[in-house]
């Protein structure tokens, strides 16, 4: 069809209004989607946090009738100021996959049968009762998620820890940020970052430690790039074990051998001291020095237990400890040149530069995760670059509510919404708020995630309820845990929105409301609580995870603890939960305030959010007159730790000669059960692959797209090779994204974990490659 431009414009002008394109191009169906009635502009926009990553962007969901039809970035949300990433922009499409679970299913004589959801809830309640009667209260467990809403996690904790008296509550966030928590607890005595995202605009130097932010925290990364463009003299350093988009966009990319970040961080501290860049008054007034146990193991055996024994040391002891970490020695361990180590130290040490460090899974999924968190804090503490705008050791989270639901609500075996189960005061507080008799809460923690699945395998746990997560794709050393879940006399309930490998092993499947089909809150990486309304109705019989738990709790006889009505339960529940944090160190905003704003940061004190903690200028919980107050520790002083370099649990050897690292890609969220149903995301990233260094590929005789078998001591996966693809690993390392359930890379990975945090290391195990 040819349109002469002149005549086209003329005719358009003549009719005063241009014709619609459909009539201009007859016979072409216009635009790629099915159209709802209604004109553009006649949709309403409602705020929500994004469903996916821990960045926690604010989105505006466009609603027409009872359907979500569009997304734009929420300009009122300070996280993203109106910009999203490709997942956020298409997030609403994840609600509409044809295979949404809308009805409950129960296994009857080996077959899954559709039943009314009421019946399924009856079955669950009866099974919990029966299992407790037969095997004791610690034979039932709840496994949740950093994608649980805050109310989801809160009622789960209340039912299991409070009413049932078992500490068998864990969440997948154990596998995602437990090391961040233990890092904060050991260094500062209180969890969650001191800084906020505004640090990005204040910083002169940003260092990403094993964190491919361009793909994993894309909106934050674009804030970094925008700041560099605006201010010109901003430096971004990518410190990683493979070359990624983040490395490409940074000013300098430094590659290190896996696990040697421990040595590098110590070498940076060595250099800072050697060059006299230590902020002497800061370390004198605000820090103390400590060491803990060494050679602490890897937790690969059942019933592994570890308790650290902190000892005080002097600054001189610490200096002596660092003698093993001269840049020259560390060059040999880490593969990073002494020059680059000195360069890094000079950036951290330069008193005129504000430095922010970012990290996420690279440092947390680490057999010494707690240690490496400690060591990066050391750098910031030695130089006093902390708790001020632009000076921030910033631990990012992966999931939208890992902070909100898991860390703050405390859905981990040892935690309560306030304090830990081991502490009597914390238990009493919970029992009081939950209206339970004294002694209801068990003072002994039970199983952390990996051990919980081992207990299911062994038979110590017989009933497990899994919500908002997909462990049959994500558990490391997956074969063992799948077999364990499938054993005789194990009962698994799965609440989810789509069929997954985890619903495949379920005895009961509950259809869940997803994201904006329910009211709830998330909490992102920067202590921001984000409320969202029920914006569209859930399909079929799908029900919010919170309400599923409440229904079961009531069937078990806990009406008194769960008195709310279905039309109005989030508000009262939030106000009850908020009582746990009723102090200036953690005060949360009221329901009303949360509803009105695009996210509110805690501590929320006297109507004001706290941007930088531990600094009296910004944080009202600090002691008056102090310059800094690390009030998580009794004496107000942060801890600098002497933590050595120790190798990974499994390193490449003769037989298994490659490192295997796993991770995500920008298009897909975790196991892809939502994002793969979004056309544009699946079309851009249809299947997983193994990234191989070009020279290694040459040695193997493999070209791009050819199949390669990845073999470890635990399992094998055969998948296509990607050479010079999106990321390029150095020689001797391969990388596999874990989103694709057709290639279960976690059958290959190792279930070793950090003995302190119990977080598994998905970034390091040994494999060999075979051409097929």
């Amino acid at each position: 069809m040819k349109v002469n431009r002149r005549s086209f414009i003329k005719s358009a002008a003549a009719t005063s209004a241009m014709a619609t394109a459909a009539s201009l191009f007859p016979g072409v169906s216009f635009a790629g989607w099915k159209k709802l009635e209604g004109a553009s502009g006649m949709i309403s926009w409602q705020k929500a946090p994004c469903r996916f990553c821990g960045t926690g962007c604010g989105v505006l969901v466009g609603v027409s009738g009872d359907r979500a039809v569009a997304v734009k970035g929420d300009p009122n949300c300070s996280v993203n100021k109106g910009l999203c990433c490709i997942k956020g922009y298409h997030s609403v499409q994840a609600l509409y996959g044809k295979d949404r679970l809308t009805k409950a299913k129960v296994r009857k004589n080996g077959k899954m049968v559709t039943v009314p959801i009421k019946e399924a809830l009856d079955v669950i309640a009866a099974k919990i009762k029966e299992t407790i009667d037969k095997h004791g209260k610690d034979s039932v467990a709840m496994y949740g998620s950093g994608q649980w809403t805050i109310p989801d996690g809160y009622v789960a904790s209340k039912l299991f820890k409070g009413c049932l008296g078992t500490n068998n509550v864990e969440a997948n966030a154990r596998l995602c940020m437990a090391s961040a928590v233990t890092g904060f607890m050991t260094s500062f005595g209180i969890d969650e970052p001191m800084g906020c995202y505004e640090d990005i605009e204040h910083a002169d130097v940003m260092v990403t430690w094993g964190n491919n932010m361009a793909e994993m925290h894309p909106v934050l990364f674009s804030r970094m790039l925008a700041s560099r463009k605006r201010k010109k003299d901003v430096t971004i350093i990518d410190l990683a074990t493979r070359t990624t988009r983040s490395s490409q966009a940074s000013d300098k990319s430094i590659l290190f051998i896996p696990n040697t970040d421990l040595a590098i961080a110590n070498a940076i501290c060595y250099e800072i001291i050697r060059n006299g860049w230590v902020n002497k008054s800061f370390i004198k007034n605000h820090t103390t020095f400590h060491k803990g146990k060494t050679n602490i193991g890897y937790g690969t055996e059942d019933h592994f237990s570890f308790k650290d024994k902190p000892e005080d040391i002097s600054f001189q002891d610490y200096k002596n400890f660092l003698k093993d970490y001269t840049p020259e020695k560390v060059e040999k361990i880490s593969g990073v040149s002494a020059r680059d180590i000195k360069y890094l130290a000079s950036l951290y040490g330069d008193p005129t530069k504000k430095v922010t460090s970012f990290w996420c899974m690279g440092m947390n999924q680490h057999v010494r995760g707690t240690w490496i968190n400690n060591l990066v804090y050391n750098i910031h503490l030695l130089t006093g670059k902390i708790s001020t705008p632009g000076n921030s050791p910033f631990s990012l989270t992966g999931q939208p509510s890992a902070c909100g639901t898991v860390r703050e609500v405390g859905t981990l075996t040892h935690k309560l919404p306030y304090g830990v189960v081991m502490k009597q005061k914390a238990r009493e507080k919970a029992e009081k708020i939950w209206d339970l008799p004294a002694g209801s809460i068990d003072p002994k923690p039970t199983y952390h995630t990996v051990e919980m699945f081992r207990a299911l395998d062994r038979g110590d746990i017989r009933f497990m309820w899994i919500q908002v997560t997909n462990p049959m794709v994500t558990m490391p050393n997956l074969n063992r845990y799948r077999n364990g879940a499938l054993r005789e006399d194990r009962f698994v309930v799965v609440s989810d929105v789509y069929p997954t490998p985890t619903t495949d092993i379920a005895d009961v499947i509950l259809p869940a409301a997803m994201w904006i089909e329910q009211e709830g809150m998330y909490g992102n990486s920067e202590r921001r609580t984000q409320h969202f309304d029920e914006i569209v109705p859930p399909p079929g019989e799908a029900m919010s995870d919170t309400w599923q738990i409440i229904e079961v709790a009531r069937r078990l006889g806990f009406k008194k603890q769960f008195p709310w009505s279905k039309d109005d339960y989030i508000g009262p529940l939030w106000e009850e939960y908020r009582r746990f944090h009723d102090n200036p160190k953690h005060n949360m905003a009221s329901y009303k305030v949360l509803k009105a704003r695009s996210g509110v940061q805690w501590p929320f004190v006297n109507g004001k959010e706290t941007r930088w903690r531990f600094n009296p200028k910004y944080d009202p919980a600090c002691k008056k007159g102090s310059k800094f107050d690390f009030y998580g520790k009794k004496d107000g002083k942060a801890w600098i730790w002497a933590r050595p370099y120790e190798p990974a649990a499994e390193s490449p050897d003769q037989e298994y000669n490659f490192w295997l690292c796993t991770g995500r890609v920008i298009e897909h969220w975790h196991t892809g059960s939502m994002t793969r149903r979004v056309p544009i995301l699946h079309e851009a990233m249809p299947e997983s692959y193994v990234e191989i260094n070009p020279e290694d590929a040459m040695d193997l005789g493999v070209v791009n797209g050819e199949k390669v078998k990845i073999v470890s001591r635990r399992g094998t996966v055969t998948m296509k090779a990607s050479i010079n693809g999106r990321g390029v690993p150095p020689r001797g390392t391969v990388f596999v994204p874990f989103f694709d359930e057709s290639y279960l890379i976690n059958e290959v990975t190792l279930d070793a974990f950090c003995p302190i945090s119990k977080q598994a290391d998905y970034k390091k195990c040994a494999v060999r490659l075979e051409k097929v």
């Binding site: 216009f30 490709i86 044809k98 909106v219 490409q248 990607s722």
Partner: protein
């Protein structure tokens, strides 16, 4: 992967074509037959460029970039469009690569088309929001519906300037999309030189349904 390979191949080929084209233009062409003599050096360049560009591309009226193809790359009005051509997986310097064409526009011989101009060149991480398509298959079918794209030219009065039917978020630069040879034919304006678009065109993409305006009942309440 095969497909991606081919695409990368195409990319390299078109890059090579651009290079060749450039090299050709840099050569002194005096003495060649068919070339009219008597230009100054710039004139010759301009003529060659003109001569090598198809008429349709020159006028932007080949119909290849129309509202239909425009919306075909989108999932709803206002969504970030898919990348409709091959891009290599791995860039040395990915940001400037996209912006080389989409920053200011211009003719790309490889695509035989003018490159559309981005309305938000300040955002450098292009792949944060724009991705290519590597397969046509879906993972599972999806029941996706959205609203109709805005109708064009909805003037309130005959002949009055139509209001802006879309949100201005990330699309504040009117001329990026509404002027130039790569603009979608139906929404290209003739009077781009007037510059101050929002003098006459106001945004009507309000949030929410239209509400009746109500005056305060009593002062102070």
């Amino acid at each position: 992967m095969k497909k991606a390979d081919k695409n990368i191949g195409r990319f390299v080929f078109s890059f090579a074509a651009i290079c060749l084209f450039g090299a050709f233009m840099a050569l002194p062409v005096a003495g060649a037959p068919d070339i009219p003599q008597g230009f100054d050096s710039d004139g010759e360049k301009i003529f060659n460029r003109y001569n090598d560009t198809s008429l349709a591309a020159l006028t932007g009226t080949d119909g290849r970039r129309n509202l239909n193809t425009f919306y075909e790359l989108r999932q709803y009005p206002g969504s970030p469009p898919r990348i409709p051509h091959a891009v290599p997986f791995f860039y040395k310097d990915d940001n400037s690569n996209c912006l080389a064409c989409h920053g200011r526009g211009g003719y790309d011989a490889g695509q035989d088309a003018y490159a559309p101009v981005t309305p938000h060149p300040e955002n450098e991480s292009c792949f944060q929001c724009h991705v290519p398509r590597r397969t046509e298959d879906l993972f599972v079918e999806i029941d996706w519906q959205s609203i109709s794209p805005p109708r064009l030219g909805r003037s309130q009065l005959g002949g009055s300037p139509p209001a802006i039917p879309h949100s201005l978020q990330l699309r504040k630069d009117c001329l990026a999309c509404h002027a130039g040879p790569a603009a979608v034919a139906e929404i290209r304006v003739e009077h781009a030189s007037r510059g101050n678009c929002r003098q006459c065109h106001v945004s009507m993409a309000t949030s929410g349904l239209k509400k009746e305006f109500q005056r305060n009942q009593e002062p102070g309440q």
